[in-house]
């Protein structure tokens, strides 16, 4: 489905995650962050977002562990930056798929 985010028509799934990471830009990230209740994105948020996008582009599985060990952010900082859902909120803002189980 289509959704208008920051003035652009974007392809998203039914939960609002981007289905095409290449449609992403920083304005879209900022708009999703406001929707998710994270507010304005600082440099700390953007470091995480950029790291997530790099890893996703490489085809790597994204886990709290790999982020915690990446040197970009500690797991505690991740919760501080994206309270209530560090993985799902940061992934949504980064324009990559939600981390999911098999069902």
């Amino acid at each position: 489905m289509k959704k208008n985010i920051a003035g652009t028509e974007i392809d998203v799934n039914e939960e609002g995650y981007l289905t095409d990471p290449s449609q992403w830009n920083e304005q879209i990230a900022a708009a999703i962050a406001v929707e998710e209740g994270i507010g304005a994105l600082g440099e700390g948020h953007m470091k995480v977002v950029r790291y997530l996008r790099e890893q996703q582009a490489k085809g790597a599985a994204l886990t709290i562990r790999s982020m915690g060990k990446s040197g970009v952010v500690t797991t505690k900082e991740l919760y501080d930056l994206f309270p209530g859902g560090p993985l799902k909120k940061s992934s949504k803002i980064a324009g990559i798929p939600k981390p999911v189980g098999c069902i």
Partner: protein
């Protein structure tokens, strides 16, 4: 001189590959060896039932050798290191095995040491796991005398083997405590690092009610910083705490330690593998199957089964110098125990999430993504299929390696 095909791991995937390939490779040209540290083959889906006294150990333990075809040498030994540059594997006792083709089927293991406090003094006293035979046994003894209290079922981090098993355990525990007449003295809580017990929209819509119906409390987005054994509680990185009287945890899953010693894995010791061909990304004569891969597929026996069919064809192609089939599609299917003698059945792959429909044929007889008694009987019958059909590398009637396109998507 004949060539050597070496398989590391005599579990589900390794045994299936030995059976498939021995039928395909002429014994005059190819020697085959399987190495495993254990000479016991465990029916791992049985670990889910063992704690509730539903299965005996004799139902789930067999001799690995009994499933190896003639013409395959089984060596009980520990792998020290894989050295792909030299086409060699060294064993703990110093022996070196040379190979022409290597299949790594070393699976995954639970790593409770990865979480602070998990292996404290109360490990297997009120902090339990059921992903190992010892763990399932200890939990069975614990449940025999359990009088009530806060039972917390926990997933530490993804990915885990058989990702739905902790949820099944929770459903079966609900039934078990009912049968014991103590359900009113037990609270059941399911704690997950994901955003829900069901994370895919279709499953969530169809099955989301199950937790509420059974009075199971759900705690999501919970990544455990530590297990505080002094105060009997799980502590999340964001400060949330979940107190327990009995913790049934699923520790972090990692690949085999020999993978780490060989520096072949990612940060969880899973080996980078081509997701459609099952060839190692780095070494063309190395193939990886089952839980040992880093594929974004479930770590489950059904996946290993579907992979084994593609991998058999690809090894033959590789030997003949033909391009590999980019065929494996992440196909997985499994029965999910939902308690009260019922189960669900799901079928999915990389592309299609679990959906509704009939299985395995267009008329059924089983229904996908729906609770039924027939599915539960299917799960129980599956143990016979596992020992007698699956491990022998025979195909399953009506269930192809690649997932059939769901009816809703068919053109």
């Amino acid at each position: 001189m004949s060539k050597h095909l070496l398989i590391l791991g005599g579990g589900t995937a390794g045994t299936m590959m030995a059976n498939h390939l021995r039928r395909k490779l002429p014994a005059t040209e190819w020697r085959m060896t399987v190495v495993d540290r254990s000479d016991k083959h465990l029916y791992q889906p049985g670990f889910l039932f063992l704690p509730f006294g539903k299965y005996d150990e004799s139902d789930i333990i067999r001799q690995t050798r009994d499933f190896m075809p003639g013409g395959v040498e089984f060596m009980q030994n520990e792998v020290e290191k894989i050295v792909p540059e030299q086409h060699a594997v060294t064993l703990k006792d110093g022996q070196e095995l040379k190979y022409d083709i290597l299949i790594v089927a070393t699976g995954c293991r639970t790593a409770p040491e990865e979480t602070e406090g998990m292996l404290g003094p109360k490990w297997r006293m009120n902090v339990h796991d059921f992903y190992t035979l010892d763990g399932a046994r200890a939990l069975r003894e614990k449940l025999k005398t359990f009088k009530g209290g806060r039972v917390v079922v926990h997933i530490n981090e993804m990915p885990i083997k058989c990702p739905v098993a902790p949820l099944e355990f929770t459903f079966l525990a609900d039934t078990f405590f009912r049968e014991q007449g103590i359900r009113d003295k037990v609270t059941l809580t399911y704690v997950t690092p994901l955003s829900g017990a069901f994370t895919k929209p279709k499953s969530s819509k169809k099955l989301g009610h199950l937790l509420g119906d059974k009075g199971i409390e759900l705690v999501t987005e919970f990544v455990a910083e530590k297990v505080d054994q002094e105060n009997d509680k799980l502590v999340c990185f964001d400060g949330r705490e979940v107190p327990y009287d009995l913790l049934v945890t699923t520790p972090t899953n990692m690949g085999d330690e020999s993978v780490r010693r060989s520096a072949l894995g990612d940060d969880l010791d899973f080996i980078p593998t081509h997701k459609h061909t099952l060839q190692s990304i780095e070494y063309p004569d190395v193939f990886v199957i089952g839980d040992a891969t880093n594929l974004p597929a479930s770590k489950a026996g059904s996946v290993a089964h579907f992979e084994s069919e593609t991998l058999t064809d690809n090894i033959i192609r590789h030997i003949e110098g033909e391009p590999l089939k980019e065929e494996f599609d992440g196909h997985s299917n499994c029965f999910i125990e939902s308690g009260n003698g019922k189960a669900l059945l799901i079928d999915f792959n990389y592309e299609y999430e679990p959906h509704e429909g009939n299985f395995p044929f267009s008329f059924g007889p089983m229904k996908l993504l729906e609770e039924s008694r027939l599915n539960h009987l299917g799960k129980l019958a599956f143990r016979y299929i596992y020992w007698n059909v699956l491990l022998r590398g025979w195909p399953l009637l009506g269930i192809s390696r690649q997932k059939k396109k769901p009816a809703a998507f068919a053109e």
